[in-house]
Symmetry: C2
Subunit: 455 residues, 2 copies
C-alpha cells in the first residue's frame, strides 16, 4: 500500500485565469473555414448570426495565445474546479505495469463531464450580448445536460435537439436536462425543415449528431434573439476546454512528473485538445518529446481512416465548410454506446496537427473499450462513460507496452465523464450483446466521394 499522495487539487487561487489558444503558436495555421456559397475564407462577422460575437472572434483568433477567462466564468468554474488529478495506483496494480498512470477526473463536475467548461463560457457570452434563447444538439446527452444547466445559471431559455436513439436509450439524460428547465426534442423532428426532409426521405430515422446540429441551427436562425451553441468540434469550444490541461500541467508539477504520453478520447476533439494542447505548447515551443494520442472508435475512424477534406459539420449543410479529417457528413456511424464519439469529422485545429505529425490517433474496438472500462471501475471505483473508456483503453495499451519494455513511462489521460447514466450500455456488454463494428473501405469511400467537390 503506497502512502504517497494520490489526488492533486489546486487551491482556488491557482485555477488558471486564461485559456490557451494553440492556434497562435502553431507553425502551420489551420486552413480557413469557407463560406459554402462564395467559397471565401470566413471572417468572424460571417459567424455573428449563429454565435455570440466574442465566440466568433475566439474561433478564428490566430494571434493571441492567452485569452482571459471572464471573472464570472471563473467564479462558476469554482463550483467544481480544479478537478482532481489522480494517480491511478489501483489500475497500475491491476495491470502490473511499471508505468505511472494519471487521470484528470472531469467526472466530478456537477453534470458529470467536462462539457460544463465550455457550456458555462458559451452561455455567459450569449447572456452578455443580450441573447435570450439558445439552442444546441446533443448525442448521449452530456453536452445537452451541461448546456441546460449553464442556460439556467444565466437565465436563458434552452432548446436541445437530442439524437433520437439516445433520447430513447438514455431517458435519464433527458430527465436531467428537463430538471434544469430545458426543452428537449428528439431529432429528427417535425419542428424544422431539416428534420421534416430527413423524416420524409427516411421514415423512422434514428438520428445523428449531424442531423441534430442542422435542426438546432435552423431553430436558432428562425427564432428572434436566439443563438446556436456547439459542444465540440469548433476551436472556441476546444479553447474553453484547455482549462483541463492547464490545471493538469500545474498538478503534474505537484506530483513531480511530466507526461510522456497524453491521451484523450476523440469525438469532435474538444476534450482531447483540452487535455493535450497546454502540454503540446511545450512540444511546439521547446521540443519536449511528448506523444499525444487521440482515442477514437474503430466504427467511426475519421482520424485513422478518414480523409483531410473540406466538409460540412452537419447533415443538411447549414455550417461553413471546414478543413478537417472526415468520413463525409453523410456517414452514418454504427450504434455504438459511446454516443459522444459518433461524429463524422474532427475539429480544424486537431486536423492540422494530425496532418503535421504533432499527434497520433488510435482506433479502438467497442469490446476492448468496455473491457478496459470495467477494469478501471473495479480498480479505481469510478464507472467511466463509454466515451472515456476509449481513453482508458488507449492508456491500458500503452501501459501494457511498459510491462514488456520495463519503462516507467508517465501516462496521463482525461477521464472526460462518468458512466452512471450509461449503465444500460454496461448491461448490454455483460449480456454479451455488444459487438465490434467492422467498417469496410468501400463504405468509407462512398461517403468521401460525395464530398470531394465541395471545396
Amino acid at each position: 500500500m503506497s502512502t504517497k499522495q494520490k489526488r492533486f487539487i489546486l487551491p482556488e487561487d491557482e485555477i488558471p485565469k486564461f485559456w490557451y489558444n494553440i492556434q497562435a503558436d502553431m507553425k502551420n495555421k489551420p486552413m480557413p473555414p469557407l463560406n459554402p456559397k462564395t467559397k471565401d475564407p470566413l471572417k468572424p462577422e460571417d459567424l455573428y448570426p449563429l454565435f455570440a460575437k466574442e465566440l466568433c472572434h475566439q474561433e478564428l483568433d490566430m494571434e493571441n495565445a492567452w485569452i482571459e477567462i471572464p471573472e464570472t466564468v471563473r467564479e462558476y468554474y469554482k463550483y467544481w474546479r480544479s478537478t482532481p488529478l489522480v494517480r491511478a495506483y489501483g489500475l497500475e496494480k491491476a495491470l502490473g505495469t511499471p508505468a505511472h498512470i494519471y487521470f484528470k477526473n472531469e467526472s466530478v463536475s456537477p453534470i458529470g463531464s467536462h462539457k460544463l467548461n465550455s457550456a458555462i463560457a458559451q452561455a455567459y457570452y450569449c447572456k452578455e450580448e443580450g441573447v435570450s434563447n439558445i439552442t444546441t444538439e446533443t448525442g448521449a446527452g452530456q453536452w445537452g445536460a451541461a448546456l441546460s444547466y449553464a442556460a439556467k445559471v444565466f437565465g436563458l431559455e434552452a432548446a436541445v435537439y437530442q439524437v433520437k436513439i439516445s433520447y430513447n436509450q438514455k431517458p435519464y439524460r433527458r430527465s436531467i436536462m428537463q430538471t434544469f428547465g430545458a426543452q428537449v426534442t428528439p431529432s429528427p423532428s417535425m419542428s424544422t425543415r431539416a428534420g421534416k426532409d430527413i423524416l420524409t426521405k427516411t421514415p423512422n430515422h434514428q438520428g445523428s449528431l449531424g442531423t441534430a446540429i442542422s435542426e438546432a441551427i435552423e431553430l436558432a436562425r428562425t427564432t428572434p434573439n436566439c443563438k446556436y451553441t456547439l459542444g465540440s468540434v469548433l476551436s472556441h469550444v476546444t479553447l474553453h476546454q484547455t482549462i483541463i490541461g492547464l490545471e493538469a500541467e500545474k498538478q503534474m508539477e505537484m506530483a513531480g512528473e511530466y507526461p510522456d504520453i497524453v491521451i484523450g478520447c476523440f469525438g469532435g476533439g474538444s476534450n482531447f485538445g483540452g487535455i493535450c494542447f497546454p502540454f503540446m505548447r511545450h512540444t511546439i515551443k521547446e521540443g519536449r518529446p511528448t506523444r499525444f494520442i487521440a482515442a477514437e472508435p474503430s466504427s467511426c475512424p475519421k482520424l485513422t481512416r478518414g480523409k483531410f477534406e473540406y466538409d460540412y459539420a452537419d447533415e443538411a449543410g447549414y455550417t461553413p465548410l471546414l478543413p478537417m479529417y472526415t468520413l463525409g457528413h453523410n456517414f452514418a456511424p454504427a450504434n455504438i454506446h459511446a454516443g459522444g464519439l459518433r461524429f463524422h469529422g474532427a475539429g480544424v485545429i486537431v486536423s492540422q496537427l494530425l496532418k503535421d505529425g504533432l499527434m497520433e490517433a488510435m482506433d479502438l474496438p467497442q469490446l476492448e473499450t468496455f473491457e478496459c472500462g470495467c477494469l478501471f471501475a473495479q480498480s479505481e471505483g469510478i464507472i467511466p462513460a463509454p466515451e472515456s473508456c476509449h481513453a482508458i483503453a488507449a492508456a491500458v495499451r500503452e501501459a501494457k507496452k511498459c510491462i514488456e519494455t520495463g519503462e516507467e513511462k508517465v501516462i496521463l489521460f482525461n477521464l472526460s465523464g462518468h458512466g452512471l447514466i450509461d449503465m444500460a450500455s454496461y448491461d448490454q456488454y455483460f449480456a454479451g450483446n455488444l459487438v465490434n463494428h467492422e467498417l469496410k473501405d468501400e463504405d468509407i469511400e462512398k461517403n468521401l466521394d460525395e464530398i470531394r467537390n465541395l471545396q
Copy 2:
C-alpha cells in the same frame, strides 16, 4: 457576483486520522442492545458470528472517544476525500436569504454517496480477519453499490439483497453493483427461509429494508467464512461516517465560520450522525448552542411520531433488540422515492440523543423535498438524491426563517449523494404523479402495539 472562496478542500495530510465515537462523551449512554432470547445486555462477543470482531467492539465502545482509522482505509479514503465543503451562494441567492448556507458534498465519492466511508472500513476489517464472503441488504442501492466496490477492492465476494421494488425501479444501481462484481438478488427471494416465509404469507411482496436485512443475515449465518455488513443504523457505521463532520469542522474553520444549525437527512442515522456528532461534541463538552436537525420523511416519521422502545432492526427478528425510536419492525412505509429513508427505526445513539434533547427532528412531505431538490439543482448544478432532498428542504425552511428575522445564521447540511440514478423519480415528480403520503395515528399505533412486549 461574489469573488469569495466557494469550495474548501483539505490537503491530504489534513484528512482526519481518527473517527469520533460520541458514545464516550455522552452523559447518558445509549441503553444496551439485548439478546432477544435471554434479554441480557449484549457483549461484543455476542456479535462475533455476524460481524468482524473489530466492528463488534466499536459498536459497544463507551470508553474511547477517538478510534484510529487504519492506514489502509485512510489510503482508500484518499481516492475521493476530503470531499468539498461548498458555500451555496447560488441557493442563497435563489432564496434571497441572509443565511450562510454550506453543504458537505459527499456526492463526489466514486459511487456517488457517503456510503463508501463505512463500506471501505467494514470490508477492510472483514478482510483483515480472513473473511472471504460478505453479505448485505440495500434499498435504493447506494449502500449496495458502495459495499460491492469495497468488496472488490479487498478481494471479497459480495452478495447483496436489494429491496425488490428498488431492484425493478432503479435498474442502473443493480448494474453498478454487477459492474463491481457483486451478486444481486431481489428481496424477498426464495433463497432464504426468511424470504420464503414472507413470499408464502404475502405473494408478490415488494420488499422492505427489514426483509432484506433478514435475508442477508440468514445468508451470512449459513455460509462458511461469511460476515454480514450493514449500511446504517448501527453505531459502528455512524462512527465511520464521522469522517464527514470531522472534515467539515476543519473546512468551516477555513471558511471562518461555525454552524448555528447542522442538518442531515435521516434513514438509520449514519449520515446524520456523521455530519453532526463532531460538532455536537462541542455542544456536549463546551455548551456551544448549535441546533442539530434530523430531516425525515413524513411517511416514515420514527423520530417525530414513533416511540422509544426495544425493537428488532429486521422483519424476521434475527437482530438483537435495540433501544430506539421506532415505528415497529412490521411497519410498511409508503413507496416514497427516498428508498434509503424507508426504515422503521433509528440508531441507538441518535435515539438517546433525541430523548435527551440534544437534537431535533423535522418531518418533510415528499413534494416539498422534490421542490427544494429542484431549486438546489437549478441553483447549484447538482441533482440531489431524493434522500438528500430532505436535508435540503430542512435547510431551506431554516433559511427562509432568516429572511423574516434578518439573521445571518450559518446553516450546514450534508449532501449525502447525487440523484443521477434516481432521475425516474424526478420524471414522476414533474409528471405530477407523486403525492404526500398521509399517515394515520392508528396505523402507527397498530405496529407499535405489536412490539411493546418484546423487551
